[in-house]
Amino acid sequence: MDIFVQQLVNGLTLGAVYAIVALGYTMVYGIIQLINFAHGEVVMIGAMVAFTVINALAAAGLPPLVVVLIGVGCAIPVCMLVGYSMERLAYRPLRYAPRLAPLITAIGVSIILQHLAMLVWTRNVIAFPQIIRVETYTLAGAVVTNVQVAIVALCVAIMAGLAFLVYRTRLGTAMRATAQNRQVAGLMGVDVNRVIAATFVIGAALAAVAGVMVGTYYGVAQYTMGSVLGLKAFAAAVLGGIGNVPGAMLGGVLLGVVEALGAGYIGDLTDLCRYGVLAGALGERCAGGGHFVLFGSNYQDVFAFVVLILVLVLRPSGLLGERVGDRA
């Protein structure tokens, strides 16, 4: 049981990070129906910038929290700039092009950003300096670290803040109006280009925070870290219903939990030696506590995409999705 709780804790932490990244996907999709495949790379750049700053300051003797905050403080503007230039240079010129064009461009931007990062930070793994003392607490048999608590708490705060922004501010109203109908919003005096740029910038800022969180949690950052993370967050966004802000949050958390539980249990469930008849048929392989595992933990990364496919087949609009029609 405590193992199950532990897997849930692992999944929740992971899911919280997915949720923050998924928000970036879903906001951009909601407003211009573009799947910004370069979003994962923005997360990576956030982590890399923060790590560089934190590594440089690690020896300065400042309190760890201050160092990390300075790191985040540097990562956010850099990512915002990346997000803004991405929109301005790569996507805005294609605003009225056929839908496939910006999609391909997004993939291109992703590759460019990844290779730029490789040039700047080399192929090597950057280690997070060991400045944060990891405290562990035991909760219902599961071990929870202070980093995990911080990640989940921060994610909740960010989600609340974003919900406030989208539903309670003028910019949020403009964003929702633009999402509903760009032309009419423009006619009502909304500066559509500014709103779209703002959406990219906010998404990029969230990505920077997510990058620092994921980097701090695992202790490493590398120029390739963004692609799989981005794809999973995209799956989370689709799971919750792409274009839907609460959906991205729900999808992220769900996906994280599914992945942790899946990786934790699939090996046992598909160990054919556990099943009497099959174990007999396999004979030698199972004798003496042997194993014949059909799907092992190496399928961990596959769960996100299995979930994605299942959702697309059974409920194309996602869990909280609406207004499908011309979208998905």
Partner: protein
């Protein structure tokens, strides 16, 4: 680049001239004052390693080892076939790049070298080996550990360092003998290197009647091991072995300790680096890991003194091995009384020689028999040698390195990850 290579070759030639100039046959008027000496022959021995780029210091270290052997042989005025032999080291730079590696291999073949010491990396050694093989030139590597190098059936390819697949049994036998685990979990990163190593460990553990859990797998980019580790925590293994690199192994051990797993973490050479402390902090303390070969501090004291005297630095990593490799070539020539590769190759294959790294004999593949593997542990943020495994026997490090000071031993090994970096390209 060609210019720098030319410069290096010239430099090598100049150093060779200075080092043993008294007998340089091309400048006979200066020295030949004595009554007509027996005609001299010049024997070229090639050395290849990266002399530029990120691991240039290791390439230079390898080259120095070979150079020392050749200069000692020249000082000893060896005679081959009744003639004064004048050995010349032709040092080439392969930049740790497989493409450059084949180019310089061809260059050495064209220069008619009698034998080659190198290359440093498996990734450059393997593609270059077919060129040497076609030319029939004996090659002895002092540092390439990828099994494939000697699995191609090339009769003139040798190595004096242990193979990657000898590490698995070594670390497993150390674990079995010293930690006496009842249950071990084996994880790998699904690369050819990691999975191969993990398979060897699992086989050796099972042979020692130790129970092994179903294999868990990540990838070479996995940083989230929590799900797998949580599952393992429920099984309470006494030891965990991970076949993979430090970039993924660091997070593994860090997260394992965070989850409160008490098992001994053990790794192969890919994660046998000081980098582990950077990645995992205090969690890496006490981990076990293995590296092919022996630390240079455990090499013969005579070699270490001569090296230090000649180059004014300590050997970094594989210099004792390239020193032995060059000596083996010379020894083979002396035995066959010929520098003709076709003639001395059979002698080399059946040689039994005691060098700076101990006794050397080759098996039928050209691998060193009973090659040593060193087991390290992480202590105070540095990896420190614990024991040397040789021919299935565990020898405590303190007894193995006769005059070795363990305090100094930890220092040079931190360069190992850099040496591994290009090698891994071939492993994966």
């Amino acid at each position: 680049m060609n210019q720098s290579k030319l410069a290096l070759t010239l430099l090598a030639a100049v150093v060779g001239l200075i080092g043993c100039g008294k007998e340089e046959p091309k400048k006979p008027p200066v020295v030949q004052e004595a009554p007509p000496p027996p005609p001299a022959i010049e024997i070229k021995i090639g050395h290849v390693g990266p002399l530029t780029g990120g691991i240039a210091h290791l390439g230079k270290d390898n080259e120095n080892g070979a150079r020392l052997a050749i200069e000692e042989a020249n000082a000893a005025k060896i005679k081959i076939d009744g003639k004064d032999a004048k050995l010349v080291l032709v040092a080439e730079d392969d930049q740790a790049d497989p493409k450059v590696g084949t180019t310089v291999a061809q260059k050495l073949v064209d220069a008619k070298v009698a034998g080659v010491v190198g290359h440093l990396n498996s990734g450059t050694s393997i593609p270059a080996s077919s060129i040497y093989n076609a030319a029939g030139i004996p090659v002895i590597s002092g540092s390439a550990t990828n099994p494939k190098l000697t699995e191609q059936g090339f009769k003139q390819q040798f190595r004096v360092v242990a193979r990657d697949d000898q590490q698995g049994p070594a670390i497993a036998s150390y674990l079995a003998a010293n930690n006496k685990p009842k249950l071990v979990a084996v994880i790998d990163d699904a690369t050819a290197y990691g999975e191969g190593l993990a398979n060897e460990v699992e086989k050796a553990l099972k042979a020692a009647s130790i129970k092994v859990l179903a294999r868990e797998k990540g990838t070479d980019k996995t940083t989230d091991w929590k799900a797998i580790l949580t599952k393992l925590k429920g099984r309470k293994p006494d030891a965990i072995f991970y076949g993979g690199m430090d970039a993924t192994g660091g997070p593994l051990v860090k997260q394992g300790r965070e989850l409160g797993i008490k098992a001994v973490f053990s790794f192969g050479d890919g994660a046998c680096t000081d980098e582990m402390t950077k990645l995992a902090g205090a969690a890496a303390e006490g981990m076990l890991c293995s590296q092919a070969g022996i630390p240079p501090q455990a090499a013969d004291a005579k070699f270490r003194d001569a090296y230090k005297k000649k180059f004014n630095v300590d050997p970094i990593l594989y210099a004792p091995f390239t020193y032995d490799a060059a000596n083996l070539l010379i020894e083979g020539m002396k035995k066959a009384n010929s520098a003709d590769p076709a003639k001395y190759l059979p002698e080399l294959a059946k040689i039994d020689y005691t060098g700076a790294t101990g006794r050397i004999a080759f098996d039928e593949k050209g691998d060193r028999k009973d090659a040593e593997i060193t087991i390290f542990t992480m202590k105070g943020g540095k990896i420190e040698p614990l024991a040397v495994i040789k021919g299935g026997k565990t020898i405590p490090y303190a007894e193995f390195g006769k005059a070795a000071a363990p305090a100094a031993a930890a220092e040079p090994v931190k360069d190992a990850p850099k040496a591994d970096a290009p090698k891994d390209a071939a492993k994966k």
